[in-house]
């Protein structure tokens, strides 16, 4: 009786299993044999397209409520117009030019800087500009962790919804690190990249690193003329293994230099550089040629357009831009949020993270990835203008910088002027890690230097570099925009596809079909095939029955 019942159940299980097993999983010979016997199965339509998700796109071009984009004269300093949507604080520009110790109280308050952020002293050579410069740098963490919130602390988005953990050098600021306590968004001067620093050839420069971060750091002046030791014999190279003990949290240290050679240089932290440099502790260090009455914009927050360019640059160029390329490894940055205890963060970043097994995910230009690059790092110019671009690649991989519609010339490499014979127009330049190139971009419509007015991309031509963690368009894509192709708000008059989806977190979370915005329904997400449910249920039931029968059989045998 018992055996017969089990046998019946076994037959039922096998039958249910066989019937629910999907025919497309049958072995190929069996499928072919069945086709010979019965022909093709009946038509069954493929699943329908999902309705497009209703997306709430961010404002492409935030309104310039404070009028920061306009050309203005502040405390006697001419600050040029900045055409893209989001401009640097012109009061900070003026304070950097005159010195935070020399500007009016009102300008200083509006700049957000401390009175000792950039102090300018005596004119040592009597040529009408200050030559004693004292710069103070702090260290800030962006998108860090907390023991009271799971939101990234001092948050900074490189692109919609993308908040990698980062460390940056920052100008010395008054007040909170965030815009306000409720949003927790980093204030505009706390951002990637670390500020570009500009000094004049021959100036007597002191840079004090006030280490406001919870880890040790130093300052290494890569390529800039500086002594191995300072005037008091202390280490001045920023290299822990050969020069000096790093600046510990809460402490400060001054570095000195009097650069004899002008050119585009670099600075970065040299403590555990394989981690700290990659986290963002790096910036452009520009030594401008000495000229009379050469009042320099000592810092360029977030790099980009230099709104008070040097005398030497003004002699030959209409505009000067600092372009800082940096790639980021998601897996490294998230470690500052994964742990709260600095001991565990240190262990995770400096011992467990293995850069030899690592790869980079995000590709920034002046601290943003596409589409945010279009708010800030557009090169906006009129036909016939000549632009000087100072470019550094601070990333872990090389970049292959390409301009659409233009051929530029590389005039300087690593801050050294190239022989005129080697300066030829080109449209791709390979920039390995830490290298600087000065580019001469001449917007004359001659079919070689420029093909005429328009919106022309410039980007890393290595394919990774134009994605945000594998989703394109992203990465360091930006554009050369001719003046009549940009509207009053600073947004380029593009003629291509709508951009709404690029300004959503969902798109970069890989949830949105890439052509949905202009080919709705054609390449959409598909709904799932309901045909699976009975088959999955049948296969599950068959397996469960077989398992129960086997256990029952084993128990009978053992008893």
């Amino acid at each position: 009786m018992k055996i017969r019942k089990s046998l019946l159940l076994l037959i039922a299980a096998i039958a249910i299993g066989a019937l629910s097993y999907p025919p497309q999983w049958y072995p190929m010979p069996l499928r072919l044999q069945l086709t010979r016997w019965f022909g093709a199965a009946d038509y069954r339509p493929l699943p329908l397209s999902m309705d497009p998700q209703v997306l709430d796109a961010e404002t492409f071009c935030p309104e310039d409520a404070s009028g920061w984009r306009e050309a203005q004269v502040i405390d006697g300093v001419s600050v040029t117009r900045s055409a893209p949507c989001v401009a640097d604080n012109p009061y900070a520009v003026a304070a950097f030019v005159k010195g935070t110790n020399n500007v009016s109280k009102d300008t200083l308050l509006r700049s957000g800087l401390t009175s000792d952020a950039v102090e300018k002293g005596r004119d040592l050579d009597g040529d009408g500009d200050p030559d004693e410069i004292h710069i103070r740098l702090e260290v800030a963490e962006l998108n860090g962790g907390s023991s009271v919130t799971q939101r990234p602390v001092t948050s900074y988005d490189i692109a919609p919804g993308i908040q990698p953990g980062m460390w940056v050098f920052a100008p010395k600021l008054v007040g909170m690190a965030v815009e306000n306590f409720e949003t927790g968004i980093a204030r505009d001067a706390l951002r990637l990249p670390s500020p570009a620093i500009r000094v004049e050839q021959g100036d007597s420069i002191t840079i004090t690193l006030e280490n406001s971060h919870y880890m040790p750091h130093t300052l290494h002046l890569h390529g800039a003329d500086h002594g191995f030791v300072d005037s008091s014999g202390e280490g001045n190279d920023g290299v822990p293994i050969t020069s000096e003990i790093p600046v510990m949290p809460g402490h400060a240290r001054s570095y000195e230099l009097q650069p004899r050679h002008a050119g585009t240089m670099f600075y970065h932290c040299h403590v555990q550089p394989h981690v700290h440099v990659l986290m963002g502790l790096q910036g452009l260090f520009v030594v401008e040629e000495n000229r009379p009455n050469n009042w320099l914009q000592t810092m360029n927050v977030g790099a980009g357009l230099v709104r008070a360019p040097s005398a030497a640059v003004r002699e030959s160029y209409d505009q000067e831009y600092d372009l800082h390329y940096l790639d980021l490894d998601k897996d490294l940055g998230e470690r500052i949020r994964k742990y709260r205890d600095p001991r565990l963060i240190t262990q995770s970043m400096h011992r467990e993270y293995d850069i030899t097994d690592a790869d980079v995910d995000f590709f920034t230009l002046n601290g943003r990835s596409f589409p945010y690059t279009f708010r800030e790092s557009l090169l906006v110019a009129a036909e016939g203008e000549r632009l000087k671009l100072r470019v550094v690649n601070g990333g872990a991989k090389g970049i292959s910088l390409h301009t659409h519609g233009h051929k530029f010339s590389v005039t300087d490499r690593d801050g050294v002027r190239l022989s005129p014979a080697t300066v030829v127009p080109q449209d791709v330049v390979w920039i390995p890690t830490a290298q600087r190139v000065d580019l001469d971009l001449f917007l004359t419509n001659d079919g070689l230097h420029s093909y005429g007015r328009g919106i022309w991309l410039y980007h890393d031509h290595q394919n990774k570099g134009v994605t945000n963690d594998g989703i394109g368009p992203g990465g360091n894509i930006s554009a050369i925009v001719y003046a009549d192709y940009i509207d009053d708000s600073g947004w380029p008059k593009t003629q291509g596809v709508p951009w709404n989806q690029y300004f959503t977190k969902e798109y970069y979370r890989k949830e949105i079909p890439i052509w949905e915005s202009y080919a709705p329904g054609l390449f959409s997400n598909t709904v799932s095939d309901p045909w699976w449910y009975p088959r999955l249920a049948g296969m599950a039931l068959a397996l469960a029955m077989l398992a129960a029968l086997s256990i029952a059989a084993l128990r009978r045998r053992s008893s």
């Binding site: 800030a140 023991s147 919870y214």
Partner: protein, 234 residues
């Protein structure tokens, strides 16, 4: 009293309170009181939204005048594992409507702040009272606490300073319950795991005897009750 006289008074207080630390020359050169709401700024630091005599709603009279000297610096973090920046005092207890003067002494070489959040916005723009001191400097500021029993957050808003230690609470009256993650005073709301190294081995070693003991006890019971169990199954 209006804002401007408050600013003048606060400048005077600043001179009186920390004349030892502040060169008068510096104050003359750099102190600023512009259109920004009640902010005074000099080389040593700044005080925002100082309030010497405006009574919060619900206060019938000004309470006691209390003075606290609070030190900040990495050395104060040494006794609290896993913190980097610290304060000499994380909890400040005051009676409702007291006038509180804080002398904030920064013993580090970087900026620090002593910032109170959640105060009534009709008296304190953005609900904040804020003292900032440059490295090695001391800055004094005064404010009047509201009438309600409540706990307010005190912190330093430099990036990660609160997260790495500088988080305290101002308790007015009986307070309204401790805030989380206050240095040495309350638990961390999110806490790292600190899992022992051989956690899995430890758990398995305990689980094996537990399993064996239960098995043994269950077997003993099934041996005594086996006859009746057979009947049920058949």
């Amino acid at each position: 009293m209006m804002r401007a006289p408050v600013g003048l008074l606060s400048a005077a207080i600043l001179l009186l309170a920390s004349s030892a630390d502040i060169a008068a020359q510096d104050l003359m050169d750099h102190s600023a009181h512009s259109g920004h709401d009640s902010m005074r700024l000099d080389r040593d630091g700044s005080v925002m939204n100082e309030n010497l005599d405006s009574l919060p709603r619900g206060c019938e009279a000004l309470g006691r005048h209390l003075h606290f000297t609070i030190h900040a610096g990495v050395k104060y973090a040494r006794d609290i594992p896993g913190s980097i920046f610290g304060m000499s005092q994380y909890e400040v207890r005051v009676e409702p409507c007291s006038r509180v003067t804080v002398t904030f002494v920064n013993e580090d070489e970087v900026r620090h702040q002593w910032m109170v959040h959640g105060l009534p916005k009709y008296l304190y723009p953005a609900g904040m009272f804020h003292i900032e001191a440059s490295g090695g400097k001391s800055v004094t500021g005064t404010f009047i606490v509201p009438a309600e029993d409540r706990n307010y957050l005190i912190h330093c808003d430099l990036s990660q300073h609160m997260e790495k230690g500088m988080r305290g609470q101002l308790v007015v009256g009986r307070g309204s319950g401790d805030l989380w993650s206050v240095g040495g005073a309350s638990a961390y709301f999110f806490r790292d795991d600190y899992m022992p190294r051989f956690a899995l081995l430890f758990a398995v070693l305990l689980a094996v005897p537990g399993f064996l003991a239960t098995w043994y006890l269950a077997k003993r019971e099934s041996a005594t009750g086996s006859a009746s169990r057979r009947e049920i199954f058949d």
